[in-house]
């Protein structure tokens, strides 16, 4: 694809990124606030010879992802709120079968059907393994259309490299945000061959038949002949991801007395708040986690050692703040500003930079 610039919503940028990443299939079910994604794929995929299916429900859409990943092609779907709950079955099974795909979750208010507006209330269910059985999937949190475009391509590579589902955790504000996006295909290096894919044994080198199983270690199929050997493998896989895959972005943290920690749309709010604070001479910085799992503990630990204090800003009742506290281990104070600090009690309320600044001044 030639480099070009387009004015895009993040939701549409998901589509262009999937195209750049040679994604073959999209499966979805309409749900607000991510409908631009399913509509983009319905419009753009079939005419390029790619596969688009509007599934009967999100359970179906996510199991279709499982099917596409099983035969070894890149596939993606997207959802929000209630649809995310329905997808846990397929994600847990994919974590067991160790197959790669990408799901974009554009967060809305909860719990339950909640609202159709923005929120950041699915941090825990994405980062802690929302389905049964104690698995983990990498979670990437974009905060702009360009970042969405980049991270979706990165997610496909990460999924193939680590043989795991990867979740893009967007939100209603980031998803609907429109900015210029530079379209280009990113290169992330070589990938292992998908020699585990199921395509009929005549199409496999050596011609040996294979079973791809969502009950690895139990079904008596290679490579794990016992349940314990499978669990031993996971016990190496997850810590290795935690050690090697952390990503974050910082702004003015070197001399900061107070560091704001925020992802997604609130990281944009916090950047503005931090700029306002700096203009008033307050030593405020920002850490924006890009990977939510693995949580970027390294940078938090580094700043704890510098003696910085923390203010976590997220549009929920407090989810990521638990991870920050877990890393800080009481060595410094971790404060929280959440959904109750919105400017308006309705579902459209927002945490504004001025409100964050007010909280910063209270702490410094």
């Amino acid at each position: 694809m030639a480099e070009e610039r387009m004015l895009l919503q993040s939701n549409e940028a998901v589509g262009w990124a999937a195209l750049a990443a040679d994604c073959m299939c999209y499966f979805g079910y309409p749900i607000t606030p991510q409908n631009e994604i399913i509509e983009w794929f319905a419009r753009e995929f079939p005419k390029r010879g790619k596969i688009f299916i509007q599934a009967q429900c999100e359970t179906g859409a996510s199991n279709m992802l499982y099917g596409a990943a099983s035969v070894g092609v890149r596939s993606i779907n997207s959802t929000s709120g209630p649809g995310w709950g329905l997808m846990q079955e397929a994600i847990s099974n994919a974590a067991n079968a160790e197959i790669p795909f990408v799901i974009v979750l554009v967060q809305r208010g909860g719990p339950g059907a909640g609202t159709t507006n923005h929120a950041q209330m699915d941090y825990i269910s994405t980062t802690k393994g929302g389905g049964q059985g104690g698995y983990k999937t990498p979670v990437l949190a974009p905060n702009s259309p360009q970042d969405t475009y980049y991270l979706v391509q990165y997610a496909f590579h990460m999924a193939d490299r680590l043989r795991t589902p990867v979740i893009i955790l967007s939100d209603g504000i980031v998803g609907q945000m429109m900015e210029p996006v530079e379209l280009k295909k990113y290169e992330f290096g070589p990938l292992p061959e998908k020699d585990w894919a199921i395509r009929g044994f005549a199409h496999r080198k050596g011609g040996q038949r294979l079973v791809l199983s969502c009950a690895q270690g139990w079904s008596g199929q290679p490579p794990y002949f016992t349940y314990q050997s499978f669990l031993t493998h996971l016990n190496e896989k997850y810590p290795s991801i935690i050690e090697n895959e952390q990503k974050w972005e910082t702004w003015n943290t070197d001399d900061a007395k107070l560091i704001l920690v925020a992802y997604g749309y609130t990281s944009r709010v916090c950047l503005e708040a931090a700029q306002m604070a700096r203009a008033e001479g307050l030593k405020v910085g920002l850490i924006r986690p890009i990977t939510l799992w693995p949580f970027p503990a390294k940078i938090i630990q580094e700043k704890v050692a510098q003696g910085a204090r923390f203010l976590v800003v997220e549009d929920s009742l407090g989810q990521m703040v638990e991870d920050v506290k877990c890393v800080v281990q009481g060595k410094t104070d971790v404060n929280f500003l959440g959904v109750l600090a919105r400017h308006n009690p309705g579902p459209g309320g927002l945490i504004f930079p001025g409100r964050v600044l007010q909280e910063v001044k209270k702490l410094l």
């Binding site: 199991n63 279709m64 596409a68 035969v71 009929g200 199409h203 199929q221």
Partner: protein, 258 residues
Amino acid sequence: MSDTTTKQKVWVSGTPARWVRHPQGGRQCPGCHHPIMERIFCEVLAEMNIEGNTIGVPGVGCGARMAMVVNIDFITVAHGRPPDVASVAKRILPDRLVFTYQGDGDCLSIGLSPFISACARGENISIIMCNNGGFGTTGGQMGPTTLMGQKTTTSPNGRLPQMGYPIHAPEMIAPMKGVAFSARCAVNNPANYQQTKRCIKTAFERQFKNAGLSFVEILSACPTDWRMTPLESMEWIENQMIAEFPLGVFKDVDKRPE
């Protein structure tokens, strides 16, 4: 199959080439019909010479052991979801044979929505469903095809009207435009065995003709959960199940409607 005059001779006429032993043993109960149906698959795939171009998607239940004993590629999936997975595999690899092998609980209870949706979309896959009148793997609970009055562990006094009525899947989907072939068979005697084999072969041929979804229900015995001997199970199928679930082909078209 040279000699089919007795049930036993069907069994001793040689092990199919694509048959493998499960490392933990056969796992089937005495009198179970799964090995018979697995054998039919082995025979049909060998006769059509498509074993290496086939992807099987077993459901969750005793039928999933097919992935362990039939020597072709399989994708094992969540309970009830084989039609979703098979639909996509077929769309990505249209030159392969893609079939699901599900139980009545997998296909008509938890998996009713994927099943009907795949029929509605006219997916070019073959769904083979064995109907043993209940949940076998979990110990014989009531299923969507349990007969009225039939005792199970969750209908201890027999299935009553307030528990609902059996689902007749082939008749139900036959009027759907996306369905090309819909039949019900049994494997309780050699004649029915041969008819089942013919139906599975036709189902696969309809798939290769891009005619739409093909579906075969097979009445099958579960002596352990029915608390019967294998022979009593055969009589139960002949006298009770076939009376409720008539055998036959309910739809057969070789062209997709516009």
